[in-house]
Symmetry: D2
Subunit: 342 residues, 4 copies
Amino acid sequence: MAKIKAGVLGATGAVGQRFIEGLRDHPWFELTSLAASERSAGKKYKEAAKWRLESELPEDFGEITVVNVNPKEVDADVVFSALPADEARKVEPVFAAAGFAVASNASAFRMVADIPLLIPECNHEHLEIIKIQQEQRNWEGYLTTNPNCTTIMFTLALKPLMKFDIESVHMASMQAVSGAGYEGVPSMAILGNIIPYISGEEEKVEEEPQKILGTFDGEKIVFADFSVSASCHRVPVMDGHTEAVWVKMRDNPTPEEVKRAMLDFDPGLGDLPTSPRKALIIRDEFDRPQPRLDRNRGNGMSVTVGRIRSGIRFICMGHNTVRGAAGASILNAELLHKKGML
Amino acid sequence: MAKIKAGVLGATGAVGQRFIEGLRDHPWFELTSLAASERSAGKKYKEAAKWRLESELPEDFGEITVVNVNPKEVDADVVFSALPADEARKVEPVFAAAGFAVASNASAFRMVADIPLLIPECNHEHLEIIKIQQEQRNWEGYLTTNPNCTTIMFTLALKPLMKFDIESVHMASMQAVSGAGYEGVPSMAILGNIIPYISGEEEKVEEEPQKILGTFDGEKIVFADFSVSASCHRVPVMDGHTEAVWVKMRDNPTPEEVKRAMLDFDPGLGDLPTSPRKALIIRDEFDRPQPRLDRNRGNGMSVTVGRIRSGIRFICMGHNTVRGAAGASILNAELLHKKGML
Amino acid sequence: MAKIKAGVLGATGAVGQRFIEGLRDHPWFELTSLAASERSAGKKYKEAAKWRLESELPEDFGEITVVNVNPKEVDADVVFSALPADEARKVEPVFAAAGFAVASNASAFRMVADIPLLIPECNHEHLEIIKIQQEQRNWEGYLTTNPNCTTIMFTLALKPLMKFDIESVHMASMQAVSGAGYEGVPSMAILGNIIPYISGEEEKVEEEPQKILGTFDGEKIVFADFSVSASCHRVPVMDGHTEAVWVKMRDNPTPEEVKRAMLDFDPGLGDLPTSPRKALIIRDEFDRPQPRLDRNRGNGMSVTVGRIRSGIRFICMGHNTVRGAAGASILNAELLHKKGML
Amino acid sequence: MAKIKAGVLGATGAVGQRFIEGLRDHPWFELTSLAASERSAGKKYKEAAKWRLESELPEDFGEITVVNVNPKEVDADVVFSALPADEARKVEPVFAAAGFAVASNASAFRMVADIPLLIPECNHEHLEIIKIQQEQRNWEGYLTTNPNCTTIMFTLALKPLMKFDIESVHMASMQAVSGAGYEGVPSMAILGNIIPYISGEEEKVEEEPQKILGTFDGEKIVFADFSVSASCHRVPVMDGHTEAVWVKMRDNPTPEEVKRAMLDFDPGLGDLPTSPRKALIIRDEFDRPQPRLDRNRGNGMSVTVGRIRSGIRFICMGHNTVRGAAGASILNAELLHKKGML
């Protein structure tokens, strides 16, 4: 079977590099197009981008000539967008109109009513809204998004708790520097320090989960009925967002019931190549999860939960640029393919 | 006026060193006695202890001969205890019985009914209970304690909010490694990492504030009526505990009212040498407090608060081994002196 | 073919865990015995040891019952020693006498005349001395050692330069905290700091290379004739020792000639499972090697060299607990097997 | 006596802020003018600059209106330049021509023959060349420079060794991130990592010491006759450059003689306000100097030396943005004032 042709928009940045890493040796997708800003277009990728990941840049990808972020220059069936929100807002609809399936990591369209905000393990049925999206907008292609990197971790952990009728969530995050991009956090700002603020983060985290955990009623997504109050902090950690979560549930489950619900959580996506064996890993040690030790579980796609205790309180942690960004978009695209939409 | 003679119990450890630092050039207290374990007793302090602080060990203190933690060997009016809880439990009552005023940083007796758990800015009137303590126990001296280092920061911030009728508190801490003592956190555990657990910490943090913010009714301390739910985490920061706090108050004040109450907070302790000009510093910047930038405010004795926002949520931060340990005990002793109890 | 039975002495510590990691799925060796101190003996490994590595402890290894460091309790053909030097000095000869092949990472016997100090890529012919060792000592088994972790990196880089007649070496190391063991470096000592001293390190580094790069004359190892002057420093890096090296050579090669010699270096050990495709990787970028990016090259067994410039100066870097410890011993044992000595 | 009016060029950056910090409460200089780029000019300093230091920005300085880097807008007798080299090259001569005494931290003119490259403790007699500079260039004012931050530390330590006839120096540096400016080193580049390269640094370090330690023969500075070979590395340390130094001397002194020479070093500048009591501090502990513990000695103006051992080898360390930048320029200006040149 011929592979599906995949492009990356914004291929030179930190998330763009994670897309490339995630697409090497992919069984379904073949990386055919790397698009970036004018400054990079026309150069070989290895000359346009300084490769920052611990894994080596695959040699053949390094030889690809970077093109402009323009549907006419991009040769692909599906495009993964690592564009900044501003640029995504302008460009992604153009790609969708031109017939591309767009799997975006950008925040620009996440909260737009007819655009699905996907975590495949949580709300794959929201894909139904794409028909409405295409009709309304007269697009040949379509646009899907994945959530903010901080949203994903605790929202995945909340999914199996929905049956206990969630009322409210408090969440304090300790976020890795890679979430801000390569130049995002100067070392002078964060060495031996904490910055108790991340621009726009709390706002995203407080509205995205209700859409993701909402239900599609045939016409629109009805948001889940709970509140989120967040406090977001940057810490001197390279990769892996750690989150302290309190969940108030109207059914008042015990910690054991919460743990059981998480252990039993099986989203049935084992046939997607990027899907981890376990979306949620529950650890019993008193001092886990830890970002350095747990972020690469499930090839960076598992969220690890620990310290489930009365409150209900727990800690969850996942790899912010894999599960929280590039891996999320790729998993979305795999879901699209499984549903016959690519 | 002759200075009051002060001793330090457990003088060689991380907090012991902070006591010595806090007592150099003290206007009221004169360091006369350094006590530590048998291994150190008999040696000059500079040979018994490896000095770890950025400030230099005062030369004359280095020449003091370390004695055993034994009332017969300690020449002092007031002793500051930096002992571990186990040892404190055995030894501090012996010192109190022998006529010493004991200002302890240990956790052993904090929650005992007739022993005051002091933050001078919060509950100096709890000192009244010492009379009862001395009568009941037939002690010549007496015992006072200061709270856990994490408790102190947010409890100070809660004090001016008591008038809004606090109902519950959620608190996620990001705690510095110095809180665990010099050998407490291996670098392999914490470099680029977070440990979402600190032994015994959440328990202390969840019960101490209600005692501190309680009222002395003439016979006993009546605990304040609110709940605390905590999640405590170790981060790669040298000094300074940062805390994300949510406070639910029955009077439902606005963020502006909360800020105003904090700004107006004046505990009237300006005459105590270690008292900072402002116990609470309120910062308006969107990204403060930060431990590296703010921990030394008020010579390490101020707690800095920022990001007061709806929720009510805010961030508070203070120096854990100064305001949260040695400085706390010294301030307590200064209060004792002011009250004529030394 | 039946696998060779392998045991690990000192299996619970940091290097012991790297041995276990290196032996999982090994094509030639089967881990059959884990030995550690009395405190651990009798327990399941997963209960005796707190697993600290990012990779998971293989489940079946966790079930192995730990035995004492005693030849009578260890069931193996070859034992890998991660013992501290003091213990190694007592115990390793007992194992060698009892017929075991001992591949030791300890420093105890490295400089003893009849015991080979091996880097397979440098001096596999030194194995000849084992016959003399066995005769002299009347041992059924034998003892081999690998060098200090800091020695290995630059000595591997020096090997292809021997033809230029090395006269002297200056080396400044920037060493990772994992080299000191899990509890070796407190975070309070190293966060945002450098410690310009590592006990015993400079001494080892200044005498081991001459033995390794010496020649076996049929009776003894004749040391190479050059001097090493070292300055060793601990830095806040988890894994990977970085070394700034100056090499004075009597033949005065150009940087290009030095680079060519390193590129051409082919020790011909490609058939050993742990041998990396390239023992030396030469990078042309101006800012490499870097420990975070390059330590895992060749599964942690390659040494990466960069910035070869006039002087002759260069930077070399390798993974200190893999290439510099456990991986080194395993590679030695693979060499023994290839030579028919197991 | 009226204070000398002082301006800062490039006042908003990391070194500019250190200048402001060094000039607060200065007994001789009064900060009268803050100049920065067009983007900042016209704003109050506190609005133009985000203050990054742990000490608070003095309130009255925050109210100063920033002016352009233009002699007509700057009201000062002496100007301190924290400009980048490119800009310094254009602007500093204009200030010198216009009659200002310019004390520059920039690299632009350090190696120019008629411009002194000063460390007051090393070569105050080089100030004589300023007459020649003014004649040749027809300047009313004049230009002095201080060395690169890495140069200063080991050159100060070499000064008392000049009597042993230095032949060559090898130096490996471990440099703090603050040396690159606030945005200079992304956290993703340096957390848990080392970057073995700093642009242009080795070149500077290899030519500046010979000028500084050279002699003024009445007409020109005759460079000292020794070679320097450097390897410069960035490490995850906030402030403080640590340097491993080897010095080959023709007179072949013992480590004790070297130590004695350093201890006896007294440049006789005790009357300069910024001069530390000891320019060189010699420590006997086996593990010092350490940047976190020693960088603030002498208010950041002392260089601490340790581990003097055969080779001759030693470690030296100093505060890179104080002794190595702003403090260096201020000390130069104090020397100018002492010599009656302001």
